[in-house]
């Protein structure tokens, strides 16, 4: 055979075409007795969490009653899990954290010191000194 | 002499060569293959039965008749459907890609066809579609190369095909004729799909392959004989 194919998988571009939310499961762990879980208990009883769950139907909310400090666990589709402490937080603060981390991609945060981050080649090509007219070329 | 002057001289030379009108005269070899000699196309592009490659009406009339005006494709495309990649080592346009497209469409269509069972009593059926039939011999053989190959032969579609068998003395299935005929038929579906669009191509499959019941009868025979 003259040509062979080199198997390379296609690259996902979430949001081009369909968008699937990276965060698929949130586990909220709280204690029914401890004072540090006050905020979570309020959140559960005043219906704000219900509203949040209804707004984010694509996320599964798992409420776990367990002794100890409360904790939020976010599961992302790139196999990463983020655990967030929320002891002694008010319900508003916890709601803010829930909203923030449910919109996260699950990747580690990093600083990128360049202007463009892309999986596509530059459209401008690379300048070549060999393709200018001969009389204008640099002579060594 | 500097390098650039060599370059300039070369360019000048090629320019001179371009201005001279030269015609290539190549010796075309007739008879058995000799390494290094180019063979005469008159002799090479001929099938075992003596059909000469080209869009002669003799070559493509069966296919034209089968396609009818409703699904007509151009003569060149018809010839391409009839040409297998083994013919002349692929030097003529051949049907490999058309076959790939056609086979996918036929498989999809037959899968949709067999599960379309609104009156089924099977309680595992979803929305009137009986999925238990998928994977059974009848469903698998319906678009198989055996069924389609025999169908093409019975309808005289494969009487002129441009291909090369490794041994054309053995029977229909072993010589590869069955496979090549099936590929040709699927390539026709692919060509109709490209020319007229998917909807028309599906009508083509329904009208020409299924509505006479011939393909299903062949498939039933195949399945029955195998058991």
């Amino acid at each position: 055979m003259p040509i062979k194919g080199i198997p390379i998988p296609s690259v996902a571009r979430n949001g081009v075409g369909a968008f699937v939310k990276p965060c698929y499961k949130i586990t909220i762990q709280y204690c029914n007795w401890g004072g540090s879980s006050n905020g979570v208990r309020q959140l559960l009883s005043n219906g704000k969490l219900n509203n949040l769950a209804l707004e984010n139907r694509e996320i599964m909310f798992n409420i776990v009653k367990q002794k100890g400090h409360p904790r939020l666990t976010f599961h992302y589709n790139n196999d990463s899990v983020k655990e967030i402490e929320c002891r002694n937080n008010t319900d508003g603060e916890i709601l803010k954290k829930l909203k923030e981390y449910s919109q996260n991609s699950g990747n580690k945060l990093f600083k990128y010191n360049h202007k463009v981050l892309s999986i596509n080649d530059s459209v401008r090509g690379i300048w070549s000194p060999m393709h200018i007219p001969k009389e204008h070329r640099h002579k060594i | 002499m500097t390098i650039s002057s060599i370059m300039r001289a070369r360019i000048a030379l090629t320019n001179v060569a371009r201005n001279v009108e030269c015609t290539r005269s190549i010796y075309l070899h007739k008879g058995p293959r000799v390494a290094g000699l180019k063979r005469d196309p008159e002799q090479v592009f001929v099938t075992n039965q003596g059909y000469k490659y080209g869009t002669d009406s003799e070559n493509i009339k069966n296919i034209k008749q089968f396609l009818s005006d409703k699904y007509a494709v151009s003569d060149e495309l018809t010839l391409q459907c009839l040409t297998h990649k083994s013919f002349g080592n692929g030097i003529k346009p051949h049907n490999e890609k058309l076959y790939a497209l056609g086979s996918k469409l036929v498989q999809l269509y037959f899968a949709k066809y067999v599960i379309d069972t609104p009156n089924t009593n099977n309680e595992s059926a979803i929305n009137g579609k009986n999925f238990d039939v998928i994977g059974t011999p009848i469903a698998k053989e319906l678009g198989s190369r055996m069924a389609l190959g025999i169908f093409a032969k019975q309808n005289g579609l494969n009487s002129v095909m441009f291909w090369k068998s490794y041994n054309n003395k053995v029977n229909f299935a072993s010589s590869g004729e069955m496979k090549v005929s099936a590929q040709m038929l699927l390539a026709l579906v692919g060509a109709v799909n490209l020319v007229h669009g998917k909807q028309t191509a599906e009508e083509f499959i329904r009208e020409k392959l299924l509505s006479t019941g011939e393909l299903e009868d062949i498939t039933v025979k195949i399945v029955q004989e195998a058991h």
């Binding site: 055979m1 003259p2 040509i3 062979k4 194919g5 198997p7 998988p9 296609s10 690259v11 075409g17 369909a18 698929y24 694509e58 599964m60 589709n77 196999d79 596509n120 060999m130 393709h131 060594i140 | 390098i3 370059m7 692929g90 030097i91 051949h94 490999e96 890609k97 996918k104 999809l108 899968a111 599960i115 379309d116 069972t117 009593n121 309680e123 929305n127 009986n130 999925f131 238990d132 039939v133 998928i134 011999p137 009848i138 698998k140 198989s144 055996m146 025999i150 019975q154 799909n193 490209l194 020319v195 007229h196 669009g197 998917k198 909807q199 329904r206 006479t212 009868d217 004989e225 195998a226």
Partner: protein, 370 residues
């Protein structure tokens, strides 16, 4: 619907059908019934009568509605209301001979695979009509191979059911939760102790190990079949147009590095053959376009592949041979990766779209053998 349109003109050809001799041939194997499924049917062509008797029922919709995993997956994929949760649950069931008698996803996933194959093939044929068949197949694999589909399945947040019945009971998890997970392991496999970093192949996996010592884990296969089955289910509930849109959104929207998929073995010969096929009268010539530093340690040459006055490709290399080969490969890539556009400069419409117009350019002539 399809069946009603077709009017069968009796079985007139039965006597003419001569399949004997062909069927018996060694070069072809006719599919047989899988006896483990205990399939019953009345007539071979009575498709509505087929029934695998080992599957006794489907999951009731009321049970599926109690599973939050299914509801979340349903809205995560933005599936239409008509798409039943029980079908979604069935799509995640790959257990072929499960003890619970639930219908599995084989039919759904086969249908989904057919849909995927067609729409991927159609898209690639229209996008790159001249792609060599080997690369075309690799590209199809890049879009809908098992590894890619498994990656998509994971990105949909599908979880694997690894919880055995005992653990299930001990953790007091609702029964319905299990139906929202990907089920492919047998009960006894779940109970085996797993060591971190050690993976024991199952019997099926051992058989699938190929000559390159590669195999596809059962989990990957299960994820891939689930994705296909979700697509098959979409066709079942809402029809083909919505399914096509789904395939385009989720699978064909991925980036395909098609220019990195070529591995040439004899590019110059191939170019010569290709030019022969295309009927160019002038011979292929490789010419030096520019050079610098021939006598230095870091020479640079620019070569071009020409036919007559037309330049087909150009390559830069640090030796004459390298530059020539790159020029030839560049010429070949320029031909193979040709992608037609319509008169307004847009991507051409696909045959499955309304208002599709045929262009000669979308028929490739096929590859040459060398």
């Amino acid at each position: 619907m399809l069946r009603q349109v077709i009017k069968r003109t009796a079985a007139k050809n039965i006597s003419l059908v001569r399949t004997s001799g062909y069927v018996a041939s060694r070069s072809y194997h006719v599919t047989k019934f899988d006896s483990r499924l205990k399939t019953e049917y009345q007539l071979l062509t009575d498709y509505s009568s087929y029934k695998h008797t080992i599957y006794t029922h489907r999951l009731p919709e009321s049970t599926a509605e109690q599973c939050p995993l299914l509801i979340a997956l349903h809205s995560r994929l933005n599936l239409p209301k008509e798409y039943q949760l029980s079908t979604l649950s069935q799509a995640l069931n790959m257990q072929q001979f499960g003890s619970d008698g639930l219908a599995n996803n084989f039919g759904l996933s086969t249908l989904g695979k057919n849909l995927l194959s067609y729409y991927t093939c159609e898209y690639l044929v229209m996008q790159y009509p001249r792609l060599p068949m080997a690369v075309h197949n690799t590209a199809v694999d890049a879009y809908m191979g098992k590894l890619t589909l498994a990656e998509i399945g994971k990105s949909w947040g599908i979880e694997v059911d690894t919880v055995s019945k005992l653990q299930h009971f001990l953790s007091q998890e609702p029964e319905a939760m299990k139906y929202g997970r990907l089920r492919f392991q047998l009960e006894e496999e779940k109970n085996t102790v797993k060591e971190d970093g050690v993976y024991e192949l199952s019997q099926v996996e051992m058989e699938s190990v190929d000559t390159n010592n590669e195999f596809i884990p059962k989990e990957i296969e299960a994820y891939a079949s689930a994705v296909q089955a979700v697509i098959g289910g979409l066709y079942t509930h809402v029809g083909e147009n919505a399914t096509k849109a789904f395939i385009h959104d989720h699978i064909l929207s991925r980036k395909l590095p098609v220019d990195k998929m070529f591995q040439f073995s004899k590019p110059t010969r191939e170019l010569v053959r290709l030019c022969d096929k295309l009927g160019f009268t002038d011979p292929v010539e490789l010419r030096l376009i520019a050079e610098t530093g021939r006598l230095s340690a870091h020479a640079v040459y620019v070569a071009g592949a020409f036919v007559g006055k037309e330049k087909l490709g150009e390559g830069v290399g640090s030796s004459l041979k390298e530059a020539k080969t790159r020029a030839v490969v560049n010429a070949l890539m320029g031909y193979y990766l040709y992608s037609p556009i319509d008169q307004d400069g847009n991507e051409p419409k696909l045959p499955s779209e309304a208002g599709y117009v045929f262009e000669e350019a979308s028929v490739g002539g096929g590859d040459v053998a060398i």
